[in-house]
């Protein structure tokens, strides 16, 4: 490990993020207790309703992460216009948010399928909400694939930023699919400006779960951001070492 890498190694573990990590574990544990033991079973859905405490917050986090990806991409493109070396921060933020968004969209799909098996008797239905969600998932997997390509970092980031903005069109389509089409999927349990579909302990458990999952997602995002930064440093160092060895060889041959 070179001196620069060593001095930056602590970047993935600051005292603040350690505290956040501990908080995330505690919040998840409390969420499990509330969701599995304190909150009652649903009259219609039975025990399967407990899946909602992970399913609903996961998609909200995914939406939020994709919003952050889009906003960061716009800021990156604006900063990039002013000076080439500016905007890397926003690009890293977009990348780390998209990764978290994809993970939580995956969790949404898995928990939804398990819930579907119990409630509908099948893991998958070609329902508008399910279909648009899997398209959203695959679209952002494509975005992540674009970010990983071996190409000039600025070109790659620029194309990824445009792709992030186009991909975001899918988010409102997924969210409003239950209103726009006749679907098997139930309407949103919680939404702004509408009376919640659930009440009492279930309502508070769902709200708390959203908070707990947000803490976990924030912790993950911060770490992914730092790992991306470290990867960039590693690449820069590798390039610098390569150039310096090439210069030494050239001097030797002269």
């Amino acid at each position: 490990m070179t001196s620069t890498t060593r001095s930056n190694a602590k970047m993935t573990a600051t005292p603040a993020t350690r505290v956040l990590g501990v908080l995330a574990i505690a919040a998840t544990a409390l969420m499990a207790v509330l969701g599995l033991f304190i909150s009652p079973a649903d009259v219609i859905q039975g025990e399967a309703v407990r899946m909602l405490y992970l399913h609903v917050p996961s998609i909200w986090i995914a939406y939020g992460a994709f919003v952050l990806t889009s906003v960061s991409s716009i800021l990156f493109l604006r900063a990039r216009k002013r000076r080439e070396d500016q905007g890397r921060h926003y690009d890293r933020l977009a990348g780390s948010a998209a990764e978290v968004g994809v993970v939580f969209t995956g969790i949404t799909l898995i928990t939804g399928m398990l819930w579907g098996k119990v409630t509908w008797g099948t893991y998958w239905q070609w329902d508008a909400r399910l279909t648009t969600t899997i398209l959203l998932f695959v679209t952002y997997l494509g975005y992540l694939a674009l970010r990983r390509l071996p190409a000039d970092p600025m070109v790659r980031s620029q194309r990824a930023a445009v792709m992030a903005l186009i991909s975001f069109i899918n988010v409102p389509i997924v969210h409003y699919s239950v209103d726009w089409w006749r679907t098997l999927h139930q309407k949103a349990s919680l939404s702004v400006g509408r009376r919640p579909e659930i009440t009492g302990e279930m309502y508070w458990t769902l709200l708390y779960s959203t908070l707990a999952v947000t803490i976990v997602a924030t912790w993950l995002m911060i770490h992914r951001y730092r790992v991306i930064r470290l990867e960039e440093l590693r690449d820069e160092e590798a390039l610098a070492a390569l150039i310096s060895s090439r210069l030494k060889n050239d001097d030797g041959s002269n």
């Binding site: 695959v138 679209t139 997997l141 674009l146 445009v162 792709m163 186009i166």
Partner: protein, 222 residues
């Protein structure tokens, strides 16, 4: 702008006419896909008649992706992207010109595939106008989406695998809308065929607007 658009489209079509990849390789391959899909459904004629609309658009998706890939391969292999950047032709004209050329190529592919399903799947058209409008709408949408996402993967080393990954989720709604509209036109489904055809025009309009705005940006340093 119109002259520039036509110039770019003519250039692409001339390259294609000389190479004859679309008609010589892609169209026969897409026809082969129709045959293989029939095998997958156990050559059940009633199933094929029911699913003809969807199977047609799957074959278009496959062949269209190859044509889109090729449309940018000919540019990057010979360093034409640099020539585009250096030329006085505006990015919107480039976008529209390449879309127009792809529209012609995918349209020809669809004519071949249309004849294919008529012969192989034994379908009967009940609404020719809807069939034509849906085919045009789908082709426009395929073309503009193809150019927008094609330039995104142009010049990258793994573009052969990247382009389908980026493109297929975007083309999936077109595939769905095209299938539903065709099913109505073929009398298999009493559905809102015109609504589905309109949806394809909306998708095409959104991607055209994005393409006109972002194409120049995506061409930079590709």
């Amino acid at each position: 702008m119109l002259a520039e658009t036509l110039l770019v489209a003519r250039k692409d079509l001339r390259v294609e006419w000389r190479a004859k990849v679309a008609l010589g390789q892609v169209a026969p391959l897409a026809l082969l896909i129709l045959v293989v899909l029939a095998f997958a459904l156990d050559a059940n004629s009633s199933l094929l008649e029911l699913g003809a609309g969807g199977l047609y658009w799957v074959a278009v998706l496959y062949g269209g992706t190859l044509l889109i890939q090729r449309s940018f391969d000919v540019e990057t292999d010979d360093g034409n992207m640099d020539a585009f950047r250096m030329s006085a032709i505006g990015a919107p004209s480039l976008f529209l010109g390449k879309s127009l050329a792809l529209f012609v190529q995918i349209g020809l592919l669809e004519l071949v595939l249309g004849s294919g399903i008529a012969l192989l799947y034994n379908v009967r058209v009940t609404d020719w106008v809807l069939l034509f409008v849906a085919a045009v709408a789908g082709t426009v949408a395929f073309s503009v989406c193809g150019v927008l996402w094609g330039v995104m993967s142009a010049g990258l080393r793994v573009r052969a695998t990247l382009l389908p990954l980026l493109l297929v989720p975007v083309l999936a709604p077109i595939l769905l809308a095209g299938s539903r509209a065709f099913e109505t036109a073929l009398g298999v489904r009493a559905d809102a065929g015109w609504t589905w055809a309109s949806l394809m025009f909306v998708i095409a309009a959104i991607h055209t607007a994005i393409g006109l705005g972002a194409f120049g940006f995506l061409l930079e340093e590709g």
